[in-house]
């Protein structure tokens, strides 16, 4: 299984944010996307997840355990927002996502209790999600990645709002995922504590698409 991106470019409004980005990630490896504010890291990740249309180019998963039509189906996406309901308890949230996601073939998600244990927050699953502090909420959003199996993880600034101990926990999660044969792509300003990963540096501002106007 490999993730192959070829000649990707994307627009926001009329502006071309990046142009002609190509890379390839084999199973068990991670890609870290870096660059200054506004250089298009989040945009790239959303294009990969299929949430934004690419202007040109394609990204696909080759030789996956199950044929995929859109790359997004094989991905977990962890954006800036946690995709959990404040009104429901942590447990209810995670049970819902586990049921809704289902497993991608080639792996199986762990149980909710185990996932919560892995992110180091056992004992508060019965609390409404809204009661948690920003850091705790982020950890629970990571537990969501564990309850259903997806080969590709797309992570946008995963360690924002986390303290040092939580960052180590996160590095452990990603390492385990890679060891199980997964792929991870993360955009970040801070070091992630992963060893020997590929890096992609965004320079930003590919130019205004003014040729049209």
């Amino acid at each position: 299984m490999r993730l192959v991106a070829e000649g990707l470019s994307a627009k926001r409004g009329e502006d071309l944010i990046f142009q002609d980005i190509s890379f390839e990630i084999p199973r068990g490896e991670a890609l870290v996307v870096k660059g200054p504010n506004g250089s298009g890291k989040s945009t790239l990740l959303r294009v990969l997840a299929g949430l934004l249309p690419a202007e040109t180019g394609t990204a696909k998963l080759v030789a996956a355990a199950q044929p995929v039509e859109r790359l997004g189906e094989a991905c977990h996406y962890l954006g800036h927002r946690n995709a959990m309901k404040r009104e429901l308890t942590v447990d209810e949230n995670l049970v819902f996502w586990k049921a809704f996601f289902g497993d991608f073939s080639g792996g199986a998600g762990i149980s909710v209790d185990e996932a919560v244990e892995s992110v180091g927050l056992r004992g508060i699953v019965h609390l409404p999600f809204g009661y948690l502090s920003a850091g705790q909420q982020r950890r629970m959003a990571m537990a969501k990645l564990l309850v259903a199996w997806r080969p590709v993880w797309i992570l946008d600034e995963p360690t924002a709002a986390l303290d040092a101990s939580a960052e180590a926990m996160f590095a452990g999660l990603v390492t385990t995922h890679l060891a199980r044969g997964g792929i991870a792509i993360a955009a970040t300003h801070q070091p992630l504590g992963l060893e020997g990963v590929r890096e992609l540096r965004m320079t930003g501002f590919a130019g205004v698409g003014e040729a049209v106007w």
């Binding site: 926001r12 959303r46 997840a49 299929g50 949430l51 934004l52 997004g72 189906e73 991905c75 996406y77 954006g79 800036h80 927002r81 946690n82 995709a83 959990m84 309901k85 404040r86 009104e87 429901l88 209810e92 049970v95 819902f96 996502w97 049921a99 809704f100 996601f101």
Partner: protein, 219 residues
């Protein structure tokens, strides 16, 4: 899918959920009408079915704007969009949950309000029945409006404005079925069947349009 239905129903009864607010708005609006047109019981029972229908229409539309906006705000919408499950199905299930949580209470409250409007038994029964058949259609077509307005800051009123014209056929056939039931010569079934047909039509069209709009407005 069952999980999604269960979650949405849970959300609607938890704190801040809209289940209660829709009915309350319905009751308040209907209660305000007699202050306007005056306490003339004959007139009230004459326009009663129409008032109930319009009240239900407004109450279902005004609560709809949060259908996808809430999902978008906390990032869930992205994840729903990414799945293999056809988006149309996801939207359909969300509509069903929304209807059960807000449309059904309106239907249940309508006989009571019918009494307040001095309507007789037949009229009340017919109104309840047509509302039962018609409000899902409003929810389905409203979902398309909600999807279009998902990224707008003041969705509420705008969704109603977009959707009201589309919902007018539902209103027309709903109300005319009721009047057909009250006034002898006109037959009840034809408009009622048309209403059901509209319902089925919107049950397909609404989710399809909503799914398309959601895909287009994702950014």
């Amino acid at each position: 899918m069952i999980a999604l239905l269960a979650r949405d129903l849970k959300l609607s009864v938890r704190a801040g959920g809209g289940a209660l607010i829709g009915v309350l708005f319905f009751m308040t609006v209907v209660a305000v009408i007699p202050f306007g047109v005056g306490p003339d019981l004959n007139l009230l029972s004459r326009i009663g079915p129409a008032i109930l229908w319009i009240g239900a229409l407004l109450a279902s539309l005004l609560g709809l704007d949060r259908l996808f906006q809430a999902e978008r705000e906390d990032g869930s919408l992205d994840l729903l969009l990414m799945q293999e499950t056809p988006l149309v199905l996801t939207v359909f299930v969300k509509c069903v949950a929304h209807w059960v949580a807000t449309g059904l209470p309106l239907v249940i409250a309508s006989p009571l309000l019918g009494l307040f409007m001095n309507m007789d038994e037949v009229a009340i029964g017919a109104t309840t029945l047509t509302l039962l058949a018609g409000t899902p259609a409003i929810t389905f077509i409203g979902a398309a409006g909600a999807a279009i307005a998902v990224a707008l800051p003041r969705g509420g009123l705008l969704v109603s404005i977009l959707v009201l014209p589309l919902a007018i056929p539902v209103l027309i056939f709903g109300v005319s079925a009721v009047y057909a039931a009250i006034q002898d010569p006109a037959p009840f079934l034809p408009p009622f069947l048309i209403l059901i047909a509209i319902n089925l039509f919107f049950a397909v069209l609404g989710p399809v349009a909503a799914a398309a709009a959601l895909r287009l407005s994702s950014d």
